[in-house]
Amino acid sequence: MHRLAPLAKLLLTMLYILVTVSFNKYDITGLFVMVLFPVVGYQFSFIPIRTCFYKLRIVMPLVCAVGLFNPFFDKNILFYVGNIGFSGGVISMVTLMMKGIFCLMASFLLVATTRIEEICRALRQLHFPKMLTSLLLLTYRYISVLLDEVSVMTVAYHLRAPGQKGIHVSAWGSFLGQLILRSMDRAENLYDSMLLRGFHGEFTYAEGRNSSRHGAIVFICCAILIMLVRLYNLPAILTSLFI
């Protein structure tokens, strides 16, 4: 995974997300196969899946919450397992959660194995507008600026308020205000120094690793596999083969 060209990785991830999202909301078995791609991807990039879930522990529940109300709207019983009937709502809730989680896993895999510049460069190769890629890059940059300011200010606060847990409510207002002002100042300064060095709305990205033959084969195989899984319900075919 780490050796695959960024453009190939980006395309695969986009394809994967598109395909995953396009599954019918009751097609739980077909969708289930899609989990294989990220899982195999994590294996090949030597990233434990645990890391993904740990890093995304705040976003995951939000994504899962999206389908939470489906069971209340869609009460058609689709099938029974023993005595328990499963309504369409429950099924669609589960598929929605699965879609969300799979997409997050795939995106995380992309981000974990590719630097942000490489992603932006690949986006540019796909003729995404430079406004968008620069925005992406700068957002990423400025987040660290903001976090820097936060950490500097919290340290400064705690040095003069020893033994206090967190920041006292009375200081929140000035703390936030200062934070915004400082970040704006720094952002402005940074932008100035970009202008001074000839920035004109477009980053030039480092020559990335370009696709090797090997990478191209991997790319094509993965793409075909993803499409196959979408077009044929593999679990159904397999069961019909053996039963």
């Binding site: 820097d148 720094r186 940074l190 100035d192 001074l196 000839g198 920035f199 030039t204 480092a206």
Partner: protein, 248 residues
């Protein structure tokens, strides 16, 4: 090279930070810009770079400072910010160094060659691939200076270049500045460095030019300096020591 004609500027809702500044700098001159805290040194530099809109006229590299000429002018100027954290925005030092040259149309390989040469000159090859936010204050400073040098500017504006540098790096910087033939304006409180690197000094106070002349003449004028909240450079004053009780 650089002309200020009656330049005045005030920050929004403040006293004038620059007040009727006029001077002329010719090609190849090495200017030291000195003055107490808040005298207006950094503001003057920002004006020279066209970062703030001022009253009065500024001419740089034969072009009048206005919107149309701005990018033309900036191509030839290099600016080392007082705070190097605000200067570096690419992830690694080398990326930052080639950012400017590539934007001005140099190819990447060429830019990397220039950058590597600059790094070697400064003796800081080991910082080449370091992350910008994972360096010490002085390392950041050296890296910031390197990014500007890699642009090969015609006029360099440096705001406190020697602050935060250890003595060895300060020495490297001074030697390098002396070898570099381009026109420079160096704002600093390090008067000894000014003495070593500049042939002319502009002293400002409260946004006005108080003195403008030969480095040694201005920097050895004790009353002038003390009236403007400065002191003689150490090497001219003799090195002061903390007074200690005599050892028995």
């Amino acid at each position: 090279m650089l002309d200020f004609n009656n330049v005045t500027y005030s920050y929004p809702g403040g006293e004038p930070a620059l007040n009727g500044i006029s001077f002329h700098i010719s090609d190849g001159e090495q200017i030291g810009l000195i003055g107490a805290n808040g005298a207006g040194k950094s503001t003057l530099m920002k004006a020279a770079l066209g970062l703030i809109g001022v009253q009065g006229t500024i001419t740089a590299c034969g072009l009048q400072m206005n919107k149309q000429n701005l990018s033309q002018i900036r191509k030839h100027l290099g600016y080392v910010l007082q705070n190097s954290d605000n200067q570096m925005f690419m992830p690694t030092v080398i990326e930052d160094m080639i950012f400017g040259p590539v934007n001005y149309g140099m190819s990447r390989e060429e830019a990397e060659k220039v950058a590597d040469k600059t790094l070697a000159q400064l003796g800081m090859e080991h910082l080449r691939d370091r992350h910008n936010h994972r360096m010490s204050g002085g390392e950041k400073r050296m890296a910031a200076i390197a990014t500007i040098l890699a642009m090969e500017p015609k006029l360099m504006l440096m705001d406190e270049p020697s602050a935060a540098l250890d003595p060895r790096n300060r020495r490297i910087l001074i030697d390098m500045l002396n070898q570099l033939p381009v026109t420079k304006i160096i704002a600093s409180h390090d008067l000894d460095m000014i003495l070593e690197t500049c042939d002319r000094v502009i002293l400002i106070n409260d946004g006005q030019i108080v003195a403008d002349g030969d480095t040694l003449t201005v920097l050895s004028n004790k009353t002038l300096l003390e009236n403007n909240n400065l002191e003689l450079p150490f090497c001219l004053a003799g090195i002061p020591m903390k007074k200690r009780p005599k050892m028995q």
